[in-house]
């Protein structure tokens, strides 16, 4: 600013008040009127602010009462009441497999891409104590109801389950289909029931230190998935499972014992007997059946019992799981009856190369797959060995030694890539060798590769 500018400013600032002040004084209302007006405006502003405050309180209170809708990989899509007492959750599991058999010249099996499992899962919480689950499966072109049950959870120590669900016997069977380490369960799972209809009491004492289940079921053959019964007698199943250590390296130890018993009386037309499958899902053992002389068909005719000691150990990225299963069944063929005992066992080990914590449930990658962020997800390697030993007394009366082996032994290795909690890619190779089971000696070994893309939420 130049000297002229400063001079002009001085004139204006100095003379301004002389001109303006008298005008203001002339327009000013009386003090009391002004005060009244100020008070009135002050009250109006205060009222408006208070109304806004109350509206915000009301909105916050209303939000608390609102039904909430959520979506997550862990819990699927859910709608929940404000108090959490009522909820509906929609979950899903889809597994797309490619199964390829290598060197299957003697008994060719079909190499195929297929939908192994396609399960929409509906879960509901009704009130404080009641829960419900419905799980059909549309995989492999068929519709099968897997779970339809309700739980009344009175307390952690005591709950009642009614409907169709997994009887509490096999450890690997009790692991969810989306959580198992390999694409297919081991040979040992052949000897335990899959799903059955019944009533189960259960409890979890001292926050998981001791869990127990005891139930009454229709009774199904080994590996069976039943919706009804073929006889009046019922099966009883029970399991106790201990996780005795809460801290330290042994905190991941779980050890248990499960079993079932009951009478099963089939007929030559409905045998109530199982057949057993390889990990490649090919039937390798079946009891005697005859299309020409049905009267010679073998059938269940007496007590069926199972015993399954089981354990797992998880520490850091390492997981070990093992079980031994025994299955007894009284079987009749024509005029001959025998009590047959089959045994099986399996040991599975898995390790997360990317350091994730291993557990009985699926892992959640520390860094989900994101090419832009340069993260890869979680990688797990796994190995397994399993055996199934058929009672020698089964042959030749109750099963044909030229078509059913006396023993199956399988080893497998696998690679699991968890892109995110919800997405898993599996590649497994499994080799199963047999003792007997063919006219000339041993049945041809099964070698297969299975790849899977699994989406679960």
């Amino acid at each position: 600013m130049g000297a002229v500018g400063r001079w002009v400013t001085t004139i204006f600032l100095g003379a301004g008040p002389v001109v303006i002040v008298p005008q203001l004084v002339a327009q000013q209302p009386s003090d009391s009127a002004l005060e009244a007006r100020v008070n009135e405006l002050d009250q109006q502003v205060r009222v408006l602010l208070r109304l806004r405050e109350l509206a915000a309180d009301s909105a916050a209170a209303a939000a608390k009462d609102k039904v909430s809708a959520t979506a997550s990989a862990k819990d699927g899509f859910s709608i929940k009441s404000a108090d959490g007492k009522f909820a509906v959750r929609l979950k899903g599991l889809v597994q797309t497999d490619g199964r390829f058999f290598l060197s299957d010249s003697a008994a060719p099996a079909t190499n195929s891409f297929f939908i192994r499992r396609a399960r929409p899962i509906l879960e509901a919480t009704v009130g404080k104590y009641l829960e419900f689950r419905l799980q059909p499966d549309f995989g492999q072109g068929t519709t099968v109801l897997f779970d339809a049950y309700s739980d009344v959870k009175v307390a952690p120590e005591f709950a009642v389950r009614v409907g169709k669900f997994k009887p509490p016997v096999g450890l690997e069977r009790l692991q969810s289909a989306g959580d198992i380490v390999f694409a297919e369960r081991s040979l040992a799972t052949n000897l335990v029931p899959n799903r059955d209809v019944g009533l189960q009491l259960s409890g979890d004492i001292a926050t998981g230190t001791f869990a127990w289940q005891a139930g009454i079921f229709n009774g199904v053959p080994d590996l069976g998935n039943g919706d009804g019964d073929v006889s009046d007698a019922k099966d009883f199943a029970g399991r106790v499972f201990l996780q005795p250590f809460k801290r330290g390296i042994l905190a991941g130890v779980g050890i248990g014992l499960a079993g079932s018993t009951g009478l099963e009386r089939g007929t030559t037309a409905a045998s109530a007997l199982p057949s057993y499958r390889t990990p490649g899902q090919q039937t390798f053992f079946r009891y005697t059946t005859s299309t020409t002389t049905p009267a010679n068909n073998a059938y269940a005719n007496g007590r069926r019992s199972r015993l399954a000691p089981q354990a797992y150990f998880y520490t850091g990225p390492l997981g070990l799981l093992g079980e031994y299963t025994l299955s007894w069944q009284e079987v009749t063929q024509a005029a001959t009856t025998a009590k047959l005992k089959h045994t099986a066992w399996q040991a599975t080990g898995s390790y997360f190369l990317t350091g994730e914590k291993n557990s009985f449930r699926s892992a959640s990658p520390k860094k989900p797959f994101d090419p832009k962020a340069g993260t890869f997800g979680a990688v797990e390697i796994a190995a397994r060995y399993s055996e199934l030993d058929i009672d020698d007394a089964s042959f030749p009366t109750f099963a044909s030694p030229t078509s059913s082996p006396t023993k199956a032994k399988a080893w497998a290795m696998g690679l699991n890539w968890y892109l995110a909690r919800a997405i898993k890619v599996v590649v497994d190779y499994e080799h199963t060798a047999f003792d007997g089971g063919a006219a000339g000696g041993d049945r041809e070994a099964e070698n297969f590769v299975v790849s899977r893309v699994q989406y679960s939420f």
């Binding site: 405050e53 307390a155 120590e157 009491l201 259960s202 409890g203 004492i205 001791f210 005891a214 009883f236």
Partner: protein, 344 residues
């Protein structure tokens, strides 16, 4: 037979196992710490904070059992609805009997004769409705009639959600009825004018106190006597004055054990003792210290000086009881809905 025995074994053993492992073993329950939930109305926070502490000491000394009392406060009607909807109150200490009647009728949580189970209609202390004005009473408010004058700004909560607000409304209505030439029509006209002077309707009595005292809104607060005296005690006599109207209503806030909830929680004996302790000399002292009018003559005499002299009428005398008052004035579409339109 063998199957039947086996079934029994399979069912009974796990049940016994669960019971043995659970914490519900009867022998342990006697000395197990216990928690009560007292669902109350807005202005009783301080009263029950004090009372709960003293009751816990009393109960510990008497039985050796630790008791913790949790409090929940809000508009009385709103609190009653919360209990009906599942808020598990062991005891309710609400602003008016009608709200507990609702818990009995709609929730089925306690019997209809609940009010006969404790002395004085299950109301261990009383209060009334007074006017709180700013120091010096700049608008010269002396009685109910002044509240309906133009230019007076009145603060009172919403009778649809607040028990205290209903007492306020009925006190004003009762005064109008008892004026020379007073009848239902003149009372309605008076109340209509009064509520035109209300700029903010809070959900509960404590909210209205906040509006008047802390937010500086309005010329007069229609308030529980205990709330008005507490405001003066907390904020100092230099800021507000209590105006005792020529006529007001006898407010009898009732208390009750919520039988079904208390039975479910196993807290019925301690809940009953909790309410009975309100009638004891120690309980009455605490009530009086928090400006509730005690029932016990000895304590009432001791604290007589702190309560202004007001001529009181009861709800039964003027309105025929809470049921009738509610149906005529506060039910949906009743008189209050007719005279008060939000936003007008």
């Amino acid at each position: 037979m063998r199957i039947r025995l086996a079934i029994r074994g399979w069912i009974i053993l796990p049940v016994l196992f669960a019971l043995a492992g659970s914490r519900g073993v009867a022998a342990q329950a006697a000395l197990k710490p216990v928690t009560l939930l007292n669902v109350s109305y807005d202005p009783t926070r301080e009263l029950y904070e004090d009372f709960n502490h003293q009751f816990a000491s009393y109960w510990k000394g008497k039985t050796g059992q630790d008791v913790t009392v949790r409090q929940s406060h809000g508009g009385s009607g709103k609190q009653a609805r919360a209990v009906i909807d599942g808020l598990e109150a062991d005891v309710v200490t609400l602003a008016l009997a009608y709200d507990i009647d609702q818990i009995s009728e709609k929730g089925g949580l306690l019997p209809a004769n609940w009010q006969t189970r404790l002395p004085n209609n299950s109301s261990p202390y009383t209060s009334t409705i007074v006017l709180l004005v700013r120091k010096g009473n700049p608008k010269r408010i002396r009685d109910w009639g002044d509240l309906a004058k133009p230019g007076i700004s009145v603060v009172t909560p919403n009778p649809k959600t607040s028990g205290g607000a209903r007492w306020n409304y009925l006190a004003a209505w009762g005064w109008a009825l008892r004026q020379p030439g007073g009848n239902e029509a003149t009372a309605k006209e008076f109340i209509t004018r009064l509520y035109k002077n209300v700029p903010v309707l809070d959900a509960g009595a404590r909210g209205s106190t906040t509006t008047f005292v802390e937010r500086g809104i309005g010329d007069v607060l229609i308030a529980w006597e205990n709330e008005a005296l507490l405001a003066i005690k907390e904020l100092g006599p230099g800021k507000f004055e209590v105006i005792a109207p020529s006529l007001s209503i006898l407010a009898e806030p009732p208390v009750a054990v919520v039988d079904k909830v208390a039975a479910k929680h196993g807290t019925k004996p301690v809940a009953q003792a909790y309410l009975e302790y309100l009638y004891s000399e120690a309980g009455q002292e605490i009530a009086a210290r928090h400006f509730y009018r005690p029932r016990l003559a000895k304590v009432a005499d001791k604290y007589a000086a702190q309560f202004p002299k007001v001529t009181l009428f009861t709800i039964d005398e003027v309105f025929g009881g809470w049921k009738k008052a509610n149906a005529a004035h506060f039910a949906d579409g009743a008189l209050f809905d007719q005279i008060y339109q939000p936003g007008r």
